[in-house]
Structure formats: C-alpha cells, structure tokens
Symmetry: C3
Subunit: 271 residues, 3 copies
Amino acid sequence: VAAVPITFLSDYGYSDEFAGVCRAVIARISPDATVIDLTHGIPRHTIGVGATVLASALPFAPPGVHLAVIDPEVGTARRGIAVRVKTEARVLVGPDNGLLWPAIDRLGGAVMAVDVSLSPFRLEPISATFQGRDVFAPVAAHIARGAGLAEAGDEIDLGSLVRLSPSEPSIGAGRVVAHVVLIDRYGNASLDLDDSHLPRTGLRLGRRLAVEASRSEHEAVFTPTFADVEPGELILFEDSHRHLALAVNRGSAAEVLDLEVGDEVTLRAET
Amino acid sequence: VAAVPITFLSDYGYSDEFAGVCRAVIARISPDATVIDLTHGIPRHTIGVGATVLASALPFAPPGVHLAVIDPEVGTARRGIAVRVKTEARVLVGPDNGLLWPAIDRLGGAVMAVDVSLSPFRLEPISATFQGRDVFAPVAAHIARGAGLAEAGDEIDLGSLVRLSPSEPSIGAGRVVAHVVLIDRYGNASLDLDDSHLPRTGLRLGRRLAVEASRSEHEAVFTPTFADVEPGELILFEDSHRHLALAVNRGSAAEVLDLEVGDEVTLRAET
Amino acid sequence: VAAVPITFLSDYGYSDEFAGVCRAVIARISPDATVIDLTHGIPRHTIGVGATVLASALPFAPPGVHLAVIDPEVGTARRGIAVRVKTEARVLVGPDNGLLWPAIDRLGGAVMAVDVSLSPFRLEPISATFQGRDVFAPVAAHIARGAGLAEAGDEIDLGSLVRLSPSEPSIGAGRVVAHVVLIDRYGNASLDLDDSHLPRTGLRLGRRLAVEASRSEHEAVFTPTFADVEPGELILFEDSHRHLALAVNRGSAAEVLDLEVGDEVTLRAET
C-alpha cells in the first residue's frame, strides 16, 4: 500500500537542520510518503499564529497526516497527541498545547485521540528537547504508511484535549475593537474578524472607515483588493484566510500602523 | 500516466505558508507530480529579478510545468497565462506581467498560450489576493497530470503576451555603463553584460579595470573565479548565470560598492 | 531499479535559486530520487558548522547519497570527492575541504573515495563558481540511480582526504574551557563537550555551575531541559546533537552571553 502524504508545519525556521532531520526520519520510516512543507517560518513559540495558519491551510491539503510542531514546553509533562478528525479521516500529530485545536475544529472535529508521548514508534534515546525528531515525525511516518492510531499510543478522552480560546472582537456603538492574529511577509495584518461579523459592524464594501492603532488614526477604504487603491493607501479587505485584514498597496500595513500580533485595532465606519 | 514535474518560483518568502499551500493544492490535484522549489526568496514584487532567475534556472530543469508567481497586480485585470514553449514542449504558468517572458524566450519561444484567469481548473471561491493558490497552482497541477492547454483557458494571441524590456548596457569610448540585475546572498552583483558584449568593451581576462559605483571608484581584476585573488579584493568574473558580475573574495561586492538592483556601474579597462 | 534518496545540505541560503537549481539538475538526471533538504541555512563558508550539523543529522537519514556543499575555495585546485562509508554503504558527495569528514567518521569510516573534480557526469560548460550545480549535484544524481563510484571519478587514497581537526575542550583544576560549535535559531549554544567528558569536569546533573563568557559571569543549572527552570534562567543541558549546550528558557543564551561560534566559555562546578 502506498503511504499517504504528510504535511509539516513548525517554528523550526530555516537556518538549522531541525525540519530537515524530521524529513529524514520520515523518509527512513516511510520512504513513499510525500512530505509537503507548509512552512517552518512561524515565529518562535507562537502557538496561536501556528494554529491559525494550520487551520487555514489544511482544507487545501490532500487527506493524509498533518504534522505540526510548535512546542515551547517540550520536555515537560505536556502530552504529545495524534488525533483523527471527521473530514476525510485525516490524522493530526503534534504537542497537545492548542496548536492543533482550530484545525481539528475546522476539519469536522476529533473522532479519536491517542497520547503518543511514550509511543512505541518513538526513537530511542529520546531527546528532552527535540521531540519533533524523536516522537512526532516517527509517529506521523508510521501512521502515513498504515499504522492504526491505537498502535501509536493509548486512547485518551476527546474532552481532555487542550483548546485554544481564540481572541474575539468586541463590536458595538459604531465601532469594532479587533485584534491582529497574523502578520505576513507583505505586512498585511489579519484580524479576528470575518464576514459573519460584518452585519453588526456598519462596515460596508466600497465605504471608507477610520482605523485606530498604536494611538494614531488612519483613513482606509473597505475594498476587495490592493490594486483598487493607489500605492501607499490603506485598505480593509477579506484576505486569503477569509479574515478581514489591513493592507497597504505596495507597502506594509504592519509598518505604517506599527502593529504586532495580539495588538488591538479599532475600526469605525465613516458616514 | 505519471505526472510531469513542476518547478516553482515565487516571492512568497519562507515566513508564511503561501508557497506551502500552493504545494498542498498541487498534491491534492496531482499527487504524483514532483514539485521542485527553485526559490521563494525573490525580493517582493521584483518581477525583473524573478524573470532573470527563472530564465537562468529553467534550462537546468527537467521538462514539465514551470510555475512562477510574482504578482503585484493580483486582483486587477492583469491576465493569468499558461504558455507552451518550443523546447521540450514545456509549459510555463503565471501572471502575464513579463515574469515569464525571458524564460519563454530562452526556451525557444511561445508555441501556444491561453488565458487562465477564469480557468475551469481554478478553486472556488477565488481569492482576490492569492491567485497562486486559487488559479496558478491548480492550473499547473492539472497540466502536469495531462490536461491540455486548451482545457486550461481560452487561446490568446502570442503577440499579446507582456514582455519585459531588459536593461541594456551602454558601451563606448573606453567605458561601459552597465546595470545591476541580480544580487545574491554572497553579495555578488550580476550585470546586464555577457561575453557577447566583451569585444567592444576593451575588458580582457587577466587585466585590471576601474569600477565606479555609488560615486566611489575601485580597482578590480577580470578573472575566472574568486579564489584567484586575495580575500577582500574585487573581481569581475563570468557568474553561473553567464552574466559578467562583480564579487569580493570572501566578502560582499554589494556592500563594498553599496549596490542595489537597478544601480548603474561604470567599468573602464586599464591600460 | 528505483533510485535511492539524496539528502542535501549547503550554505546556499534561501534567497537565491542555488539549492533549487541543484534540485532541478538532480530531477533531470534521476527523476525518481527523493531529495531531502537537511538545511541550506548554514552560515556562509562555515565549514566547521556544516560539518557538525551534517555528522549529527545523517544517522537519522535513510541510506542513500548525501550531498553537501560549503565551498569557499570553489574554482581552485581543491578536489571534489565522492566517498563510500562503511555504514549502509552510503555515499557522501561534496568538496574535499573537511566538510564531509566528521560525518564519514560517524558513519563507520571511508571504504572507497574518488576524485570527481573532472567527473564524466559533470555538466558542460562547467562554471568556475557554481560546482554544486555543475559537478556535485549531477554526480550525486547519477550515483543515486545506480552508477558505481568508479564511474564517477578516479580512485584516490583514503589517507589523502582532508580532515577537520575539531576543537577540544580543556578540562582541569575545577574548570572546563569549552568552545561554541553551533548556535541555533533559538540561541542555544552547543559546546565541544559531551557526556564522555563529564566525569572529569565535576559538573553534575541537578547542580549549579558558573558560566564565564565574553568577560561576564552567569549562574546556571545543569538540567535535562529548558522547562525545568523559570523563563529567563540559564541552563546547561545535553542537546539533540548530544553535545552539552547552554540555553535560556524562552530566551536566547547566545544573546544573553554574547556568544558566537568559536567563542570560549568557561564552566565551573559550584560546591
């Protein structure tokens, strides 16, 4: 039987061999599994950013195994998990710190979960600080080539999985207070707002709005894409994650508005 | 039938999941296609740099599909295209903004082109800002697994493709005014000069020359490789793109000469 | 016959197409060979860092061909080599500048070596500055698809291979003077110390120690993992390379101690 593909996301970066060694481990166990690197550039230890990116990316991936490692508490009692979800019987593998939760949710919810911390598939001697290599990659590789979840670890209660509580915008009285959840390399800033929030906000496509961030105020227009405005102008738009987001055409909204992930942004529809 | 390989170049960078999601889309449509990432590190929105790198890299690639996305005008009326070239019937896929043109030219010229902006292969709902994921990757993946160009979009006139006018050196009266077309991570600066220009320049292998850049003047020697000179010395050499280029042995010509892509450099053969 | 996998490590970085073009060359020659990128983020021209990472990573990789290119003397008389080692008959390919030596040693030692500088597998015209593309990648690809070492070049004496002399700690009189051999993206600093040195050092797991670096002194504890201490505290631990290493929980030891590769660090067990 051919192996299913494995997607791989982490905060390992590109300057070290961490992601590469995990790929090597996978290739040793499951030579036929295609590994699809989603990104290893998630900022260090930012579980929330990784969780948002993972949930947004996985619906575009083929069914298979989804390996994700952002693991600031490696070496502690935090569990490692493998979780089967409803959508296409995919399996997510990683630390039980909330990283996988939004993706599990997006993919129909968990159907079965096992604790892989002491998986028989782990490499020995296990490192206290690099369980991507020693636990998660081998577990993912064995599942990709057909091992059952029950072989990878002991079943655990689905209700015990660690959940992330995503940030929530506060909406009312003609203004929206939202939070930055992602900033991409172009300086576009995704907010914790999507089109389900729109009716209550007074924001309308084609209309202008005021954006307050880092104690300064800016004018923007709510428009489908960058190129609808002049270079240097600020827009609100629906980004490819289907979040509402701020961008500057040919520039960087994060720089112009001095934004970081987690920052508050206030939007007010202009009349 | 096995799928042909897909090469992939973009300015998506490595900190986000953009390139990874495109690979995921390809794997979902065409699981057997090998994806060869050329680079995703082209500086943001620099179509000229991407075009030069692509044209230089593709002759080394296996025949197949060549996906390239640097797309500052995404979401506007700019077209998406798929173009079959003469050499090995390869197909290039990307925005019609000149990015593909030098590679098309290098690979024997265009034989057939289609507008894929509304391709039946596109993903729905299409994003206004991420057509790499929603248009170009799916089109490339379907063609890699055997779809014909005519299935990917409506045929367009070959004469209507957007062309880049490459920069040209000006040569005469004992001096050459050239332009920087690429700067690599080692700080080597490729110029819009190749050996076809040499006879008119007075520059000769083994001879010294004066290099004027950013209002300062430097001594250099025209030599086959870095290691012919002492660390810290400036050379003119034929680089791996077959451009004449400036380098500093164990150092950075871009730093020493304070160069950016597009800058003018004046070379004068010494007598 | 299916091709064996090829691992690939270099200092080519990610901003240019260098690693990508090598992958393209491999795919053209050996379409079935899986290429496993270990990393291309080794700091420019740091043969020692690359050698350490390579030796540490390869035991996790599947048997096959191991391509590694950090090549500051490209274009000089330095040789290119392909070396078969005892462990699993793997073949290492790269410049003969010491980069491969610690990995050869780790994998049971060399069994046969050939000079590939003028390999019949090289691409023509050969570039003076990019032999990763023109020599090493094609040699690796041909060997991966079954070519014998003797076809790749002329046999050379195993005793003639360039060896790296690794740095050595000096241990005595209640103090250890060690050297930084690697710094990772988390700012963890690996030392030229492993558990074989421990008995002579007086350092004991669970005990405190003094760390002197860059003329300042710091308190640390020798512990299995980061999470054993509070954020911001300095630890000595055994890292995933099985080196003793310095780390700051949720911080950067390299920053706190102002460390670079090659720096001296003095450790003193506290009583």
